[in-house]
Amino acid sequence: MLRNLLFFIKEAFLSTKKNGIMSFATIVSLIATLLIVGLFLIISLNIDNILSDIESQLVAIVYLSDSATEEEVNEIIQNAIETEGVKEVKYISKEDAFQKLKSDLSEHEEILAGITENPLPASLEITVTDTAYLEEISFNLNQFEKIDEVNYGGQLTKNLLLILNLVRRSGLAIIYILVFISILLMVSVIKISVHSRYEEIEIMALVGATSWFIRWPFIIEGFLKGLLSSLAASFIVSRGYLYYMEKIKLSIPFINIILDNQILLRVSVILILLGVFIGIFGSIISLRKISFGEL
């Protein structure tokens, strides 16, 4: 088996060498394609990150009327806890809210100078298991007489989520299209390779090589081209990402960009798997129609 493998690899290299310019062109275009795929992957992963960040921050704030008694507040809390989709209910008293405001504005104490009476209402902070529940929960709580207002970010958040999701989905669509194109590219390249080695194939078939034995060198050729291209692409993507993101993070600090090796590792693994898949799958498709049984 090892002996055969060595033979296959040798033949694959021979074939790559025989079609030098074509092989080079393939690898370059595969690298370019995989670079774009990598770019969209990174954007997509970052959007994922931002989305989950936003979603985890999404809470419904329930402002309680000042006239609500302790019993009424407890009833509202009890009701909220029992509602489907509610993860946690946190009570913030008038005093807590005022303290928080004070500490938030500690650098601008003059704003609070004229305020003698606490103007802030007591509130409930409701965290949900899924943002989809927010609308329903706020609608239900609005039924209570002693609740002044329920605020959950509303339309603005909804729109933001929609746009980000759209960007992510289009990114994925583009990735699918690019992968499809790369497979087509691989198919034509391996077909050219098969034609340029027609004599070898004919002789192999005549002296009794099995059709899989004939196919393996081409599959390995596709595999090697895919592997080489994806290694180069993931290297470029990693370097480029670290370089540019560092800069972006410095100029736009509030964007939550993932800046660790975890994401690069993920993208690289995906790119390499993709490259290898494109190489092998493309070869198999282009070899499928060639019948080695009949000459």
Partner: protein
């Protein structure tokens, strides 16, 4: 072959109602004018093509019933030599012969021994590192024969092995084929070379217009 017919998709009747039995170890000339169906006849034997009708039985195996995946194993028992050589010109003499052993999964040490042995027999050992381009026509044909018989096939099929060669070299090639036949390999030679057919004094099957025109033991080849 029993009642073999071959009709190509373009409706040309290449062979019709061929009945031939070739015994193990026989040496047979297959003669006839160009386009008579000689090559089709040969292709049927190594299952390059299947008959439209009738049965082709090689070494007890009915080729029509042979699974496609088993065709390679049939081919390992049949050596084929073509008029146009079909050598690999990006490999040297040794590698060309070794190729047919390698693709059926032989060990390197076995390949080396067998290839050197056969190159010695055909007299090309001293040119084992030469590119086939640099060989003469006769030498290239010998190399093809070496590649075909290095696997010790049961049957050797040669299609116009002397087609491009001068009479002297042709006879040289025939001598080599006789030698291979004596070792026990069935040899089938398709040829339109009159002189060789006459000189050889072997069984001659004459095909004309896709039919067997004559089948003579130690026959004289005549057109």
């Amino acid at each position: 072959m029993f009642h073999v017919f071959k009709v190509f998709p373009n409706k040309i009747h290449a062979l019709s109602d061929i009945n031939i039995h070739i015994k193990k170890g026989e040496f047979v000339f297959l003669v006839g004018p160009t386009g008579a169906g000689k090559t089709t006849f040969l292709k049927l034997i190594y299952r390059g093509i299947l008959p439209t009708k009738g049965q082709v039985i090689v070494d007890g195996v009915n080729l029509a019933r042979l699974k496609k995946s088993l065709v390679p194993y049939l081919r390992r028992e049949i050596g084929v030599v073509f008029q146009d050589f079909k050598l690999l010109y990006d490999r040297n003499v040794f590698e060309n012969v070794a190729f047919s052993l390698r693709v059926v999964g032989n060990k390197n040490s076995v390949i080396k021994q067998k290839v050197n042995e056969i190159l010695n027999i055909i007299g090309l050992f001293h040119k084992r590192n030469t590119n086939p381009h640099l060989l003469s026509g006769g030498e290239q044909q010998k190399l093809c024969i070496a590649r075909a018989v290095v696997t010790h096939p049961l049957i050797l099929i040669t299609d116009e092995p002397t087609g491009n060669l001068d009479p002297e070299t042709s006879w040289d090639i025939m001598q080599l084929l006789f030698k291979i036949n004596i070792w026990g390999t069935t040899v089938i030679v398709a040829s339109h070379d009159k002189l060789i057919g006459d000189k050889a004094q072997k069984r001659v099957i004459r095909i004309e217009g896709g039919k067997v025109a004559s089948d003579t033991k130690k026959g004289i080849y005549s057109l």
